[in-house]
C-alpha cells in the first residue's frame, strides 16, 4: 500500500497520542536529561533499546529482523561506529525524516523521545562503550543476592496497587493491551510493542523494570502517578533476578493443610494455632506474653462466647476448680449456653444487613425476626457452616424444603426495599439483585464483586459479565421492584414459631374431632335433607342467604336501606327519587345515570388490629396483608360504563379508594391509594351483556397484587386482565361512604338496575360464588328432582340445610366445625410471615447492564460462577442452589478462609487478613498465611464444625495471653498483628448494653421473638418523618431484652448502638471500626438505660455486697471486671462515694430524683441518699475503661 502524506500525518498524530505526550514536552524532557556525567550503556541506553528495539532485534530469534541483535555487544562496530553518531547507521535510522526506513517503524507504535535519541547520540559520540553489565544494578554495588522476595506477599500487591487499574482484568480500561495480573500477560513477549515485559532472571532485560524506574516522566510508570520508591523497584528487580516466580493470587488457590511448624519454645503451644503464632514471634525475636490471670480469662471468654460477663457464682466456681482442664470445661459450658447463639447471631445480623424496616423513604415496618430466630437456633444447634450457607442462600430449593429451610433464605431478603411513590420498579429490581450478589460475595468470598457492576473489576479477575451471571443466580424470584410500604413484600411464607405450631396442631386435632363428631352423628344426613326438602317445597317462597362473613346486604325490596353488621347508618338517595323496578329477585333499584344510593359508612375491612398485634406489628397501617373481601351483586346494565358500587372519591390526581365498575362493558375491580402508581386493578376479559340480568362476584384476597382478584359471572370463573400492580400502601381501608351506582369521583354513574348487593369479609370460594349467584329460592330448588338441579342449586340447598334447617344436633355439629375452621383460619392469619427467596417457574431474563444502568441492557446472561474460581461440577445446572453448594465445596479457595478469618477477627479485633471484607488482590496479605490455611482446612475437615473452631481458638495459648502491653510492644506492633499479647478491645455496642443490664440483674433472657423497643429519646423518629412509624416504647420485660432484639429502624438506628460503631444495617458490613468519642461518654453517663442499670447495680451492691462501703463497692467492681479493686482504686471509689453521700444527705430530693429514673421501681427499703451515692459509683463503674473493655 502506498502511503499518502495525509495518511502519514494522521498516523504520526495517533502515535504521539499513544505515547502519551506532546512533542514540545518531549523536547523539554530531553533537555532535562542532558547532564555532564558520561552516558552508561547499561544504565542509560540499554533500557531505551530494550523498549524500542529488542522486540525485533533482541534475544528472541523468531522475531529477529535483519539478523540484527542490539542486546549483545556485536552491533558495536557494525551499525554503531564508536565516536561517530552521525556516521552510524543505527543513529541514522533513528533520526531520518524518511518515513520508510526510520526506526522503530511507524507501524510498531514505538518511538524514541528526543531525549532518548540524544542519549544514544552521546553514547556513540563518547565511544560507544559496552561497559559492565553489572553496572545496571546500582544498589548494593552489584550484589544481586539479597533477601528472597516473596511474590505473593511483596510483588503482587505492588503490581496490584500500581499497575492493575490500567493493566489489569478490566478489558475496557486496559491500556495498550498489556495485562499484568495474569502470568501470560506479564511474561508475554510483546513483540513490536517493546519485547518481553518480564524476563525471568533478567531484571535488566525486563521492560517492567525500565518503565517503573525510568527518569523520563513520559516513560515512567505508573503514568501520571507517583513513582515507585527505590525499595519497591528493588523488590521488583530482586524478584525477577531470582527467577520471577509467579503464582496466582494466594486467596484464589485452594488452601492445603500446612505442616505444623516446629518451635523452639516447645512447651508453650497448647494447640497447633500456637505453633504458627509462636513460629512467627520467634522469627521476629519476640516472646509471647504470659498467660493472663484466670479471672480475666474467664471474663474474656465468657464475653466472647456469650456476650455477657460471668456471674459471681460462675467466677467463683471457676476460680475454685483446680482441675487441669477447668478452663476447657468452662468453655464447653459456655458453648452450650443459649446465650452463645445470641452472641454469634449479633455478628451475623450486621453482615446480613438485618433490620425491622424497609429502609427507603418513610422506612415502613417489616417482619423478619423469624429469620433471626433461625440464625440463633442454627448457632446453638451447631449447624455445620456448609449447611448454614446452603440453607440461607437456597434452602427453598432443597428437595422437600422444610419451613425452617425456607425461613433461612430470608438472608437475601434483608436488603432495603423501596416503596416510594413514583419509582421505576425495574431500577430497584436491579438494585436488589446487585445487593444480594455484593453481600453474598463479601460474606462468603471476601470479594468486592460489586466493583464489577459497571465495568470489569479493576483488580480481581472478575468480568462485568461474570458479575451479572452471578446476579442471574439471585434474580429469579417472583418479586416486584416496588415493595409494600408497611409490610412484608412477596415472596413470603407464613412462619409460625414452635409454640405457634403446637397451638395450630392442637386446634387441628379439635377440628378433626369436630368433623369426626359430625360424621359420627347417628343420622342419615341425606335422608334428613330430603325429608326437609319435601316440606320446603310446600312452602311458598322459602329462601336463604349465605350469611357467613356477610357485612353488608341491600336487597332493595322496596327499601334502599340495607342491613349491616355494625350499627345502622342512615342511607340516603341522592340526585333523584327512589325508583324500584322488577328485580332478579323481587324488586331491584333502578338507576338512570344520575341518582345513586349513599349507604353511609359501611364496616371497614382491612383494619384488623388484633391480627397486627399478634404478628408483632404494633403500628397503625403496618398490616402484613390487607384484608380479604368479596362483592356480590346482580346487575342489569343498560350502558357500557357506570359505577356499580364504590367507596372512593376523586382525589387531586384521580380516584382514590375502591370500586367495582363497568368500563366499556367489562367489569373492573379497582383498589388504589393513589391513582397512577399505588393500587391494584383487574378487569374481565368478557363483557357483561346489556339489557339482561347477570350476577357478578369479585373477590380480593388482600395480597395487594392483581393476581389476588377473582371474578365470577353467574357463578362462572372469568378470565381477567391485570391492569395495575403498583400497590405500596394499604388498600382496603377507605374513609369514603359506600355508594351504590356512583363514585365520589366524576366516573359515570350506573344506568340500569342493581339488585341484592352484598359485601363479604372473606374470599368466596368458587362454589360459594355459584351459590350466591343462584336466584332460585329454596322452595323452587326443592321442587326440582335432585338429579335435575344444577350443581349450584344442589350446593345452595345443601348449604342452607346444614346452616339453618337441619335438625338441631346436625346444626350444632356443623356450627362446631365451622367455628373451629374459622378459628383456625384466624390463627393462621395471626402468624408472623417472613420474606423469603423462591424460584420463578419461568426464568427471569438477566442482562449485562452497560455501565450498570438498569435501562441500558446489553447481552443476556445466564447463571454462572466466575471463571477464575473452580467450575461447577460437571452436569450440574447453574442456579442459586448449585451456587450455594459450590461456595462450600472443599475445593473452593475462599469460603473457609473468609469465615475462619471473621471468627479470628471477632476474638482478636483484627483478622489474620485485616481486610476481612476483601480477600482480592487489593486486600491485605495475611499476617499468618499458614495459620489461616490451617484453620480453614481444619474447619472444612471437621465438617464445618463452628463450635469446634471456636473452641480451638479460645483454648489456645495465644488466646490466653495477658493483654497488658509490655516494653515497646505497642510501638512495634500497635495493632497486635503478631499476637504477642492477648486482645484488649472496647466491647462492641450490643455487649456494652447487655453487660450493663446483666450486672444490674435487669437482663431478661428469653431467646428469640419479635423485636422490642427499649428506651430511646423521644421524638427521634418524628425528626425523620412526620406521620411515619411512631416509637412506642416497650413496657416491662421488653425494656431489658438483649440488644440483638432491639427494633432496628434502618434510617434511624438505635442511637447508642450507632454511637458505639454499630453498622447502620443499610449495607453488608463485616468489619466495624472502634472509635472513642465524647458522645459515647455522654451516652454511658446520661442515657436512662445506664442510669437505671446503675441504680439497680447499686441496689445489688447494697443487698448482696456486704455491709461496708468497701465491700459493696468491691462487689460492684467485681461484677464488672471479675476482680476486686486494687487498694488505690478502692480508695478512689470509696472516697467518691463518701462525697456523693454527703451531698445527697443534704439534698435528699435530688437523691430521690436520681434513684427514681427508669421504669423499674427502686427498692424502697434502702436509704435514698445512700442509694443515690452508690448509684453514682455504680454508674462510674459502668463507664470505667476496664468495664467496657475486654481485657
Amino acid at each position: 500500500m502506498r502511503m499518502t502524506p495525509y495518511w502519514l500525518v494522521v498516523l504520526v498524530l495517533i502515535m504521539a497520542v499513544s505515547v502519551g505526550g506532546s512533542h514540545a514536552y518531549r523536547l523539554e524532557a530531553g533537555l532535562v536529561q542532558a547532564a555532564e556525567e558520561p552516558v552508561d550503556f547499561h544504565r542509560d541506553v540499554r533500557p531505551v533499546l530494550a523498549q524500542t528495539c529488542f522486540a525485533c532485534h533482541g534475544a528472541a530469534e523468531a522475531n529477529r529482523q535483519a539478523d540484527l541483535r542490539l542486546d549483545t555487544s556485536d552491533f558495536i562496530g557494525t551499525v554503531v561506529l564508536p565516536g561517530d553518531a552521525e556516521g552510524s547507521s543505527l543513529f541514522q535510522r533513528l533520526t531520518t525524516d524518511a518515513p520508510i526506513g526510520r526506526m522503530p517503524p511507524l507501524s510498531s507504535g514505538r518511538a524514541l523521545t528526543a531525549g532518548e535519541i540524544e542519549l544514544v547520540r552521546r553514547w556513540i559520540d563518547e565511544g560507544a562503550h559496552w561497559g559492565t553489565e553489572r553496572a545496571f544494578i546500582d544498589a548494593g554495588a552489584g550484589e544481586v543476592v539479597g533477601r528472597t522476595v516473596d511474590f505473593g506477599r511483596e510483588v503482587r500487591p505492588l503490581l496490584a496497587e500500581n499497575c492493575f487499574s490500567c493493566h489489569g482484568p478490566d478489558e475496557q480500561g486496559r491500556q495498550v493491551g498489556l495485562r499484568l495480573d495474569v502470568q501470560e500477560g506479564a511474561f508475554a513477549d510483546r513483540g513490536l510493542f517493546g519485547g518481553p515485559v518480564i524476563v525471568a532472571g533478567d531484571a535488566a532485560g525486563s521492560l517492567l523494570v525500565h518503565r517503573v524506574s525510568a527518569d523520563d516522566p513520559l516513560r515512567r510508570m505508573p503514568r501520571g502517578g507517583e513513582a515507585l520508591s527505590d525499595s519497591e523497584v528493588e523488590t521488583l528487580r530482586l524478584w525477577i533476578d531470582q527467577g520471577a516466580g509467579w503464582e496466582s493470587h494466594w486467596a484464589f488457590i485452594a488452601p492445603e493443610r500446612p505442616v505444623i511448624p516446629q518451635v523452639a519454645e516447645a512447651d508453650w503451644p497448647r494447640n497447633a494455632i500456637d505453633n504458627f503464632i509462636l513460629e512467627r514471634l520467634e522469627g521476629e525475636g519476640l516472646t509471647p506474653s504470659e498467660e493472663t490471670d484466670r479471672a480475666t480469662l474467664l471474663r474474656r471468654v465468657t464475653l466472647d462466647l456469650t456476650g455477657v460477663p460471668p456471674t459471681p457464682t460462675e467466677l467463683a466456681d471457676f476460680l475454685n476448680d483446680d482441675a487441669a482442664d477447668a478452663y476447657e470445661k468452662a468453655v464447653d459450658r459456655l458453648l452450650v449456653s443459649p446465650r452463645y447463639g445470641e452472641r454469634m447471631a449479633a455478628e451475623w445480623l450486621d453482615a446480613a444487613r438485618y433490620a425491622d424496616t424497609n429502609g427507603y423513604q418513610t422506612d415502613g415496618e417489616r417482619s423478619m425476626w423469624r429469620w433471626r430466630d433461625w440464625v440463633i437456633n442454627a448457632y446453638n444447634d451447631n449447624m455445620p457452616f456448609d449447611q448454614f450457607t446452603i440453607e440461607q442462600l437456597a434452602g427453598d430449593m432443597l428437595p422437600n424444603a422444610t419451613l425452617d429451610q425456607k425461613v433461612a433464605t430470608a438472608f437475601n431478603r434483608n436488603h432495603s426495599l423501596n416503596s416510594e411513590g413514583g419509582i421505576v420498579p425495574e431500577e430497584f429490581l436491579v438494585e436488589y439483585g446487585v445487593d444480594r450478589v455484593s453481600t453474598t460475595g463479601t460474606v462468603w468470598m471476601g470479594l468486592t464483586l460489586g466493583c464489577a457492576r459497571c465495568h470489569d473489576h479493576k483488580f480481581d479477575p472478575i468480568s462485568q459479565k461474570e458479575f451479572y451471571e452471578a446476579v442471574a443466580n439471585f434474580n429469579n424470584i417472583p418479586e416486584r421492584g416496588k415493595g409494600f410500604k408497611y409490610a412484608n413484600s412477596p415472596p413470603l411464607v407464613t412462619a409460625p414459631t414452635v409454640d405457634q405450631q403446637a397451638e395450630l396442631e392442637e386446634l387441628d386435632v379439635k377440628v378433626d374431632e369436630a368433623r369426626a363428631a359430625l360424621a359420627a352423628l347417628d343420622v342419615d344426613m341425606l335422608a334428613a335433607q330430603r325429608t326437609w326438602e319435601a316440606s320446603a317445597a310446600e312452602v311458598d317462597g322459602l329462601d336463604w342467604v349465605l350469611r357467613d362473613g356477610l357485612l353488608v346486604h341491600h336487597a332493595f325490596e322496596g327499601d334502599i336501606a340495607g342491613t349491616q353488621t355494625t350499627e345502622e347508618i342512615p342511607v340516603v338517595l341522592e340526585d333523584g327519587l327512589p325508583r324500584f323496578v322488577l328485580g332478579r329477585i323481587g324488586r331491584a333499584a333502578g338507576f338512570d345515570g344520575r341518582r345513586f344510593i349513599n349507604a353511609g359508612r359501611s364496616p371497614d375491612f382491612g383494619d384488623n388490629a388484633r391480627l397486627r398485634r399478634r404478628q408483632g406489628l404494633e403500628q397503625d397501617g403496618a398490616g402484613i396483608h390487607d384484608e380479604e373481601f368479596s362483592f356480590a351483586v346482580w346487575v342489569y346494565p343498560t350502558a357500557r360504563d357506570g359505577v356499580i358500587l364504590s367507596r372512593a372519591d376523586g382525589g387531586d390526581q384521580g380516584e382514590v379508594g375502591w370500586g367495582l365498575y363497568l368500563e366499556d362493558g367489562k367489569v373492573r375491580l379497582n383498589l388504589s391509594s393513589r391513582v397512577l402508581d399505588d393500587g391494584v386493578a383487574a378487569e374481565s376479559v368478557a363483557d357483561v351483556a346489556l339489557g339482561q340480568w347477570q350476577h357478578v362476584v369479585a373477590t380480593y384476597d388482600g395480597s395487594k397484587t392483581p393476581s389476588g382478584i377473582r371474578m365470577y359471572f353467574d357463578g362462572r370463573l372469568q378470565e381477567l386482565t391485570p391492569l395495575n400492580d403498583t400497590a405500596g400502601n394499604r388498600l382496603t381501608v377507605s374513609r369514603f361512604p359506600l355508594r351504590i351506582g356512583a363514585s365520589g369521583s366524576d366516573k359515570p354513574r350506573f344506568e340500569g338496575r342493581i339488585d341484592d348487593v352484598r359485601i363479604y369479609d372473606s374470599v368466596l370460594s368458587r362454589s360459594k360464588a355459584a351459590v350466591v349467584a343462584t336466584a332460585e329460592s329454596l322452595s323452587e330448588i326443592a321442587a326440582l328432582d335432585p338429579g335435575q338441579r344444577t350443581v349450584a342449586q344442589n350446593d345452595k340447598i345443601r348449604l342452607a340445610f346444614l346452616e339453618q334447617y337441619a335438625p338441631p344436633e346436625i346444626l350444632k355439629a356443623v356450627r362446631q366445625v365451622a367455628e373451629l375452621e374459622r378459628e383456625r383460619g384466624e390463627l393462621w392469619a395471626s402468624f408472623p410471615t417472613v420474606m423469603v427467596m423462591e424460584e420463578l417457574d419461568e426464568r427471569r431474563q438477566t442482562f449485562r447492564l452497560n455501565r450498570g444502568a438498569y435501562d441500558n441492557p446489553a447481552e443476556e446472561v445466564f447463571p454462572g460462577v466466575p471463571a477464575m474460581l473452580p467450575p461447577l461440577p460437571q452436569g450440574v445446572e447453574a442456579n442459586r442452589l448449585s451456587f450455594a453448594r459450590w461456595l462450600v465445596d472443599s475445593g473452593h479457595p475462599l469460603t473457609a478462609r473468609v469465615t475462619v478469618n471473621r471468627f479470628w477477627q471477632m476474638y482478636f479485633g483484627t483478622g489474620l487478613v485485616k481486610t476481612a471484607e476483601n480477600f482480592g488482590t487489593q486486600g491485605e496479605y495475611p499476617s499468618h498465611p499458614e495459620l489461616l490455611d490451617w484453620l480453614a482446612t481444619s474447619f472444612m475437615d471437621s465438617g464445618w464444625d463452628v463450635k469446634a473452631l471456636q473452641r480451638s481458638i479460645v483454648t489456645s495459648a495465644t488466646y490466653r495471653q495477658s493483654s497488658k502491653v509490655t516494653g515497646d510492644q505497642f510501638e512495634n506492633d500497635p495493632e497486635n498483628r503478631l499476637v504477642a499479647r492477648g486482645p484488649r478491645l472496647r466491647l462492641p455496642a450490643p455487649m456494652i448494653r447487655d453487660q450493663a443490664l446483666a450486672m444490674a440483674g435487669l437482663l431478661v433472657e428469653k431467646v428469640g421473638g419479635a423485636s422490642v423497643r427499649p428506651y430511646q429519646p423521644e421524638g427521634l423518629w418524628d425528626e425523620v418523618v412526620e406521620g411515619g412509624l411512631e416509637y412506642v416504647r416497650a413496657e416491662g420485660d421488653d425494656l431489658y431484652r438483649r440488644s440483638l432484639y432491639t427494633f432496628w429502624k434502618r434510617t434511624v438506628g438505635p442511637p447508642t448502638m450507632l454511637t458505639f460503631d454499630s453498622s447502620t444495617r443499610e449495607t453488608c458490613i463485616v468489619r466495624t471500626g472502634r472509635t472513642n468519642t465524647p458522645l459515647q461518654a455522654l451516652s454511658l453517663m446520661n442515657d436512662v438505660t445506664y442510669v437505671e442499670a446503675a441504680r439497680r447495680l447499686a441496689e445489688r451492691m447494697m443487698t448482696e455486697g456486704g455491709t461496708t462501703p468497701e465491700d459493696r463497692i468491691g462487689y460492684g467492681y467485681l461484677l464488672a471486671t471479675a476482680h476486686r479493686p486494687r487498694p488505690e482504686a478502692e480508695t478512689i471509689l470509696v472516697n467518691g462515694f463518701r462525697q456523693h453521700l454527703d451531698r445527697y444527705e443534704m439534698d435528699r430530693g435530688a437523691a430521690v430524683e436520681l434513684v427514681t429514673l427508669g421504669e423499674r421501681r427502686r427498692d424502697e427499703t434502702l436509704d435514698v441518699a445512700e442509694l443515690a451515692a452508690f448509684t453514682m459509683v455504680a454508674n462510674l463503674i459502668l463507664n470505667f475503661d476496664g468495664t467496657i473493655t475486654k481485657e
Partner: protein, 484 residues
Amino acid sequence: MDVCLERLLSRRRFLELTSSGIGTAALATLFGQDLIAQSGRASAASGALPGLPHHAPRAKRVIYLFQSGAPSQHELWDYKPKLQEMVGEDLPPSVRGNQRVTTMTAGQERFPLVPSKFKFSRHGKTQTWVSELMPHTAKIVDELCFIKTMHTEAINHDPGITFFQTGAQLAGRPSMGAWLTYGLGTMNSDLPTFVAMVSKGSARVGQPLYDRLWGSGFLPTRFQGVKFLSTGDPVLYLSNPVGVDQATRRRYLDDLGALNQLKEEEYGDPETSTRIAQYEMAYRMQTSVPELTDLSDEPESTFELYGPDARKPGTFARNCLLARRLAERDVRFIQCFHRGWDQHTRLPEGITTQARDVDQPQAALVQDLKQRGLLDDTLVIWGGEFGRSAYCQGVFNDETYGRDHHPRCFTIWMAGGGVKPGVSYGESDDFSYNIAKDPVHIHDLHATMLHLLGIDHTKLTFGYQGRNFRLTDVHGRVVGDVLA
C-alpha cells in the same frame, strides 16, 4: 489521574489502619483531632489530613440550607414567560425527549404546561428576576450566585436527597460534611465539626430525613454529623440525669479519670488515655452546647431580622440563627434541612406557606453573616434535591395545579465563601425543562464546594473495599465561572 489515586491509596491505607486500630485510635477524637495531627503529620491540632488544604481555601465553613422535597424553580427563581403564553398546551414532545418521568405522572395522558401563579419582578443592581414569594431574599439578590442549570439523575426523593448529601443515590457513602471533617479536621475543640438540624415546613408532611444524610458511610463513625435536636437535649444525652448537678459530675469525672489512669498504668493501653480525654470533652460540651443554643444574649434586633419564628425551637428561622452562632464558633459544616416542598398538587397554597417559612430567615442569615464579616469565608448554599416539572400534575387550575419531580433542570443559589455575588450561571430553556447552556451536575457542585474549601476533589479519597472512593465518585468539575 486514576493512577495518581492509586498512589494516594497507600497513604490512605495508613490512615484507615490508624483510625480503626486499637492503639492508634487512642489518639482519635470524634471531631477529627486524630492521631495524624498529634503525630505531627498535619497542621497543628486541626486534624486535617496531610497535604490538606491542597490550595488556599476561600471558605472556611459551609452553611447548607437544604430544601427537602424539591422546591419548584418555576414559582421561585426561574422566570419563564413562555409558559404563560403556552398555558394549557402540551409540553412539546421535542422538549420532553426521552426523559424518564416518575410513575406518578408517566401514565398521564397529557402534559399541559402551567405557568407560575406568582408574579416575578426584577430586583437589585443586577436586576434579577425573583418571584413575589421571596420578598426578603429579593432584597439580597446582589449577594447571591444563582445556578439555573443544576441537574441530577435521581427522580425520587430518597435517592435524590441521598445523592446530594453523599454523592451517590444509594445508601452507604459518607455525607459531604463527613468528608470535610475527615479531610479538614476541626476548628473548634468544644463543639462538633459537623452539625445537622432539621425543621418542619408549614406546607405539608415532608419527605423523611434520615441519619445517612449526615452519616459517615464507610468513614470512621467519628466523622459523622451530630444532629442537633429541637426538643429535649440539643445533643443526645447531653444533660446530666435529674439529681446530678454539675459539681457532682465534676467530682465523678475526677474519680473516673483517676480510676482510668490506674488502668492505663496497669495495661499500658493508650486507648485508655484517649478515653480520659473524651470524657473531658464530653464535660466541656455540656457547657458549650447549651451556651450555643441559649439565645438570651441575642438582642431584639436579631429577632427582627430573622423574624418572630426564630424564637420557636425547631423552625427554619431558629435553625438559621443557630447556624450563624455555629459559624461564629467555627463549626465547619452546618446543615439546615427544611422539609415540605413536595407539591405534586395544590402547589400554590403549599409553596406560599413554605416560602414564608424560609424567605426572611435565609435572607437574614446572609445579611447577618455579612454584617459580622463572616460571609467572606462562609459558603452558603440553598437548594433541593431536584426541580419540578413545567407541566401540570393533578387538576389543572390555578389553585390545584401541581408539579411532578424534575431532575433535568433546576435552580439553586450560593452566597459568600468565594463565589461571585450577583451572578446567574447557566441558562435553562423556555420551559426550565432542559438546560440550554452550562449544565452543573451534583458532582460539579460538590467539586466546586470542595474547591472553595481548598480541596482538590480528586484527591480527597478513602480506600474502602479495594477502591479509592471520593465524594465526586469519578466525576465532577469545578465550575470556575462562579468563583470570585
